[in-house]
Amino acid sequence: MDDRRPALVVEGVSLVYGSGAVAVQALERVDLAVRRGEMLALMGPSGSGKTTLLMIMGCLLRPTAGSVRLLGRETSPLDQAGMARLRLAHVGFIFQSYNLFPALSAVETLRMTLRLKGWPADRAREEAPRLLAQVDLADKLHSMPAQLSGGQKQRVAIARALAGDPEIILGDEPTAALDWRTGRGIMELLRRLAHSHARSVVVVTHDPRVAELADRIVTIADGRIAPREGGAS
């Protein structure tokens, strides 16, 4: 796909926790756009606001100022239920600790996610193994999380994030719990998926080697976008 329009636009976003003397400015006038088919790495030291920004981009937090446009449409009028429906339909999440369901096998996790997204049972049954094959886990369909390595768990989590074909994938330190070789494999997989399916992938990381594998790097410091941007391509 060669559609390079932004899928996700953040404009003048600020977030303040608390009020008065105890107010904490987590983000301040952040502007950011993520194009379709692009993989962007959000870098910054701990407490800089990168995960907070990711949560705002993923409609899990409301900014105190500014706007978020997802797929060209404004999110601020949505209530909590509307935000949840939006996440379910258009956003896939990847978590640092994988957050798999310990009692469900890989294929059951995928089937449940697809059913949750409204897919009929028969289509979900066909699609779940295909998604796992896409992340090279065709031979682990019935493995439980406890039977998988860290890298394999994260691949299941990526397959879950891809379920239902959402336009936006957001990852919170998806390689932090993995060794460098496995982490690089995960990042290359995400980049390949971004490019081949025109998905917008945003990954929070504090590892420069991981960030270098993204198309673009945005650095956040003290709740603001740092002036200089870099990238791998």
């Binding site: 449409r73 429906r85 339909a89 999440f93 978590f95 957050n99 239902g164």
Partner: protein, 393 residues
Amino acid sequence: MSAAIEVSSEAARPPEIGPAVLLAWRNLAYDRSRFVITMVGIVFAVVLTAVQIGLFFGFTATTTAVIQHTRADLWVAVHGLRNFEIAMPQLERHRNIVMEAPGVTRAEALLVFFSAWRKPEGGDESVLVVGFDPNSGIAGPWNIVQGDPADLRQANTVMVDDINKAKLGISKIGDRVEINGHRARVVGFTHGIRSFTTSPYVFATYRNAIDYGYLRDNQAEYVIARLAPGTDPMAVKRALHRRLPSVDLLTRDEFADLTKTYWMFTTGAGTAILVAAALGLVVGMVIVAQVLYATTVDHLTEFGTLRAMGAPQGFILRVILWQATIAALLGHGIGIVIAMAIARGSQYSTALIIIPPGLAVGLFAVTFLMCAGASLVSIRKAMTIDPAMVFQR
């Protein structure tokens, strides 16, 4: 400003029941030890409640067994009657007055009195002698498993229930005992005729019972009457009341209710059983509440992940309620099977436990409510979870 996002109807449609059931079942069964504790808690509550209520039904049936099996439409007793077992002797002329009432086809005397039973090997037991007229077939023993009822017409004979063989110190037909010092011979056994008091029933003909009690001829604790088909018992009662103002006139159902109410509630026996049943429910509910709460709290991260992914609150509510439903179904199923087995075993004991199908069905509703109620606390916890928590671990 752009238009608000419209989410496709496919994504907005609530998910089918399948994934909620799957996740609920797996959440429950994942930790085997906890699952077993959950089941034990529910099964304990179901068995205890079913057996207690079954005992209540059993005792209720026991208290009224003779009344229900006596084919009398009307019972006449001295005023102040409160139960079947304790009645005062009445005048002989009462039977004649009842017999003359319009609609009455037959009236006869029935003797009921406590007496001392001396075992063949020595030792005494209290018994309740029921003296009936063997010619009418209105009263008498039923469910006879050994012996011929015609043998009761012989002098100094009795029939007792086989459940009470050991208590009465007898084992077979022909065993000889003494009733109030009067010799008697066992000529048959019934099965399942229990007494609510500790005194077993001893069936004898009216003539023999007069002898056992050293009573005067024509004495009767009750006059029992049969009415012609289609006769309104209330009309007969009204007519008789004018002639017998100082006696209690009761239909069979009225007398059964009176006796039942006396033994089950006036004495407090039934109340104690029902309180025990309620306590069983409460204890079971506390166990189940703790375990279901712990199960939900253990999976809070997963519920948070689901919320972050965009799962509606209704889905999480369904998962938790399905956990309760599955736990209730399994716990009730196992519990009722155990309770039924205990009830079956009670057929051979002095304490009858009756678990009718309605009780089993009703207990499922109670078990489900118990499990759902126990889930309420954990539902609140899971429903109010902040989906952002999954990013803050």
